[in-house]
Every structure is written in C-alpha cells, then in structure tokens.
Symmetry: C2
Subunit: 324 residues, 2 copies
Amino acid sequence: MMRSRHSDALRAAQMYYLQDLTMDAIARELRTSRSTVSRLLSAARDTGLVQIQIRNPLDTGPELESMIRREYNVDVHVVPVLESLNEAETLDRVALQAARTIGPLVDSNAIIGVAWGSTLSAVSRHLTRKITHDTVVVQLNGAGNMHTTGITYASDIMRRFGSAYGARVEQFPVPAFFDHAATKAAMWNERSVQRILDLQARMSIAIFGVGSVEADYPSHVYAGGYLDENDLRMLAHSDVVGDVATVFFRRDGSSDGIVLNERSTGPALAQLRQVRRRICVVSGASKINGLRGALTAGLATDLILDEATARRLVGFGGVNPANG
Amino acid sequence: MMRSRHSDALRAAQMYYLQDLTMDAIARELRTSRSTVSRLLSAARDTGLVQIQIRNPLDTGPELESMIRREYNVDVHVVPVLESLNEAETLDRVALQAARTIGPLVDSNAIIGVAWGSTLSAVSRHLTRKITHDTVVVQLNGAGNMHTTGITYASDIMRRFGSAYGARVEQFPVPAFFDHAATKAAMWNERSVQRILDLQARMSIAIFGVGSVEADYPSHVYAGGYLDENDLRMLAHSDVVGDVATVFFRRDGSSDGIVLNERSTGPALAQLRQVRRRICVVSGASKINGLRGALTAGLATDLILDEATARRLVGFGGVNPANG
DNA sequence: ATCCATTCTGCACGTTTGTGCATAGAGCTT
DNA sequence: AAGCTCTATGCACAAACGTGCAGAATGGAT
C-alpha cells in the first residue's frame, strides 16, 4: 500500500523517540526488518519529521554565553569546536550546527531573507529538510560583480534553502554594488525589483554572516572583484570594520555617511533591524571586528559562532586584536 | 571544576545531536571516557536539555489523524500501539508518549492546570524534567470523597508535574463534589479558594483525561465513592456520557441543567474552553462515548490517544458502540 | 588525619544500530 | 509478457552504544 513510506516513518519515529522502543521491537510491529526501521528513522530525521533542539536554560549556561548575551542582548549559540581544527573544519561544524539550529525556527508562511558568502554557502549545504507551506526564500542582496553575474553562486545557496523547506525562491538579479547610485535609484523604481524589496520588507527571518575588513582571509566582498581600489580606499577612510549583506558599518555600529552603501544592494541596517528574527552565523576569530560592529549595530537577534571567536568576543582567551 | 556536569552535558548534546559526532569523538574532546559521554547525553535528555519533537506535517499525516482533525478541529497525536497489548500496557505507552509530547509545550511562566485520574497518574510518572522558571502547576478539581481527603493521590500527580518542570504546586484541597451547592458557593468566596480559582482562570495549559460513564472499567469518579446512588441515577436521567475534571456533559457536548455540576469543583466547561492549550489524553477504546462528548464540547485543542480508540472515534475498525 | 558514605569514572561485555552488497520487487517501455 | 531501470529490502558484518561492576575521587563528619 502507498501509506507505507512516510506514514511508517512517522510511526517509527514516534515509537523510537517518544516511546523508547528499540528498532527491533519497532520492526516487529511494522512487520519489516530492523534495517528498514533504521532507514525509516534516518529518513524521518532528514525530512524534518523529527526535530531535535538543544535548549540551554538561559541563566545556567556557561559563563561565556551569558556574558555575550548580556553585553549584546542577543541569543547566543556557541558551537563547541576543538581549537586545533583548521578554519575549514571549524566552518563546517559551525555551519552544520547552524543549519540544525535554524531548522526548528522555520515555519509555514515564513519569509526568509538569505545573504550569500562562504558562511552561508556552508550553512546551505547542511540544511535538513522540513516540510512547510507558502514559505518564501528571498535573496538579501545582489551578487553580481565586474566579472560575473554571480547568479550561479548565490542561487546555489538560495536553491538549497528553498528545497530544504519546500519554499519558493526569489532571487535578486542585480550586482552587489551599482557603479552609480543613480542607477540603483532607477532600478529601485522598477516593479520587478520592488517585488523583491517588498518581500524583504516583510521578512520574518533573516540569515547572514558578517564580512570583516581585517579578516585573515578576507570575505568575498573585499577580495572578489566587487570593489575597485577607489572603493577600498574610501572604506579605509570611513573607519569601516565590516559588512552584513554588503552594507557596511563602523566599529560603533553606525553607517551614516558611508557613501558605498548608497550603491549597495543590501537592505539598510535600519530595515534589517525591523526583522523579527535575525540570525547571524560566524566562524573564524578573524572576523571579530566585523562581528563586534554588527552586534553593536544591533543587527542580530540570534548569534551562532564557534567557541574561539566567542572567547575573543568577550576579550579572554587568545590575543586581543589590535584595533584603531 | 564545577562547570563540568551541566555544561559538559550541554556541549556533549550539541556535538552529538547537532554535529553528528560519535560519542567516542566527543569523549576525546571532553577528555573523558565514552561511557561518561553516554551518561552525559542521557542526563541531557532527562533534564530536558535535549528536546525531541515529532511534528507530522498536518496534511500528509495518515488518514486517521486528518479525519479526526477535520471532524473535531483538534490537533491529534495517535499513539501507535499494537492491538494485542492489554489496557495497562496501552495506557503506559500512551502516557509515555503524552509526557514526551507535553514537555516541549511547557515553558517558563506557564500556568498548568492538571486534573487527576488514572490517566493523569500514568502521564505524571513519565514526565521528563525540563528547567523552567515561575511556572505554576494548579490542581483543576478537588479530589476528596466520602472516605478520604484524596490529597495523597491527587497530590502525588501534582508533585510529579511540579518537580518535572521545577514549578510551584498549588493544590486544591476540597472534595471532588460538595454535598450541597450552597457549601460550594460559600467556599468559592473564601480567599484561599479564590487564589486557586484565579490561577485556574489564568491557565495557559490544561491537561486532563476524560471519564466515560460506560467505560469497561469505569473511571474513578463513577466507582470510587465520589457519588452516591442518588447521584448516579440523576446522571443516568440527564443523558450524561462523561466528564472532564468531574464536570459532566452530554453526548452533544452540552452541560446545562446537569445539577451535579453545581456541586462539582472542576472548572466550568466554558471556562475550560478559554484556555489556550487544552490537552486531552485518552487511552482505552471504552472511553469512546465520553471522548466524543468532550470533543463535541470543544474542550480540547490537543488530543493524544491510542490507535484503537482513534479508529473507533472515526467509526471504523472495531464494533461501533451502541448508544442511546 | 582518618573514616565513612556518596558520587563519579572507566572497563568489559552484551546489545543495539548503521551500512555495503546482493537480491527482490515495482514501475515503465516495447 | 519480456526486458529494463530504479528503488526498497534483508542479510551480515562492523561500528557505536548502554550498563553492571569495581575501583577512584569527593566531600563531610569525627
């Protein structure tokens, strides 16, 4: 019969996770083999039928988390990672845990704003499926640059989000930065663009990393041909420490008077702050300055980051980064 | 150091459930043995650090559930149970799954109304701990009868709820039924009683079973010395099919004119319906008539019941009970 | 300092679970 | 119906896991 696959997975999950039966016992009840049950359960996890959450009671959590929470008024998820791991492995584990953490927050009718970048790309590879309805994934900022339209790169990320949650995907086919602010103004009056802007204005969840000017290996934005020498010099003179979705800010969280933002296609910081749930994912301690700025700017409601970075964020463990 | 126990459990849980590391790998990172990690994880589950939920996508669930959902407008959790199990084993498995299902719904600042009875007693034995703050567990109806004050029986249930969620427990030290409605009216003006009534009025969650007049082995209420022959005769003449928290109702969900209710200490059905989340737990197909009435009366927002009963509820599988 | 009681730990063993592979079955085409 | 492809199943083995037990560690009490 057709009922089998999905419905058996549901039954198996209930019996396994809620009634503590062994797979063997479940196999007998479902009249199948134990290995099938094992696979049913694994399917149940992969499709989001089983949701596993770790909730750490806010006040009893480790010192580190509560310090960050207090200082920046943000929900922190510190990802335990051995300090000996290299950047790539760390990113992978942060991304995996971020994906698992995000899953339960996504619900039907959500409008999910997604940025792009190496962090988001890693996260998008680890998303677990979850069946939702009328969910929309909308791209936060353009991805084109002087060399490519950026569409494939950014759209891979978007597509993964979309298929994980069964959501409609709305791409934003513009460059990351316009050459002229006037072009942006013109485009922003196009109805095709306004549809996207309207979705962004109604986002219920935003997911993004941070770019940091001083990062060891600089974010895409600062190295990938998005900005010319003029731009970079201008950034240096504006005390910019980092960006979120290609919108720049200073150490104190301010962004007024940064001319590059007038040509950027990301949502203004003030608009981003309107979003109910703003999830920032950070891996790698070298992003610390950008992260500090983003948090000071109040851009995130939830922060997922690796342990080493968390430690540096509150100032102990590791070299305290020079800052000017 | 002291950080160890709780905080290690948290780290272990994150690494195990969110990063898919093996216990072996976690043991190495935490510099301990694999068996310790196994125990840490089991502690994490027991203390509610790890929350596992089964969410069945509403529209894709098995036919049975959606039929009930449509007909009674209630969130259904059908507990898969072999038909060959006896009543006690079925109750145990329903109760276990109910306890696991309730856990994630309980949050800080909740006011949880709890009824008593064999079902609730079973549920209370299976609750998993979860750390919350300023949560209150309040008894829905008195438990005294002609022979005992009922305090130990009901309070065992209440105490288990209280300690599972770290909640304050408010007992309701009155008989299940007053002999005279006037006594109830007088008591209801007592400030000590009003404190309880006030809590009940502010409940955010109510958890109860149903009593059914025609059950194979009748609920406590109908056999336990709570009602005298007069009362029972009166019930029969009022077409009563069952009760929730010792408040009676008819097959069509109505309860007006049932005089016994004027002497009962449970919350009026209209008041119960005000509660945001009303969880009804039912095990045993013989409660079918009471259950139908309760659902028709709109008493529950969530229904947890065994498969056999669910099947009878929608009319197939098993003898359709005679009704008058 | 010593003793005791309690809790925690690691080992060793048996149990439970994941998975590669060969086979059976389902669905389609001709 | 035969032939094909693609998926689902069960077996068998290896990996991962839970737990009784004995010894180590901890924290009082004397």
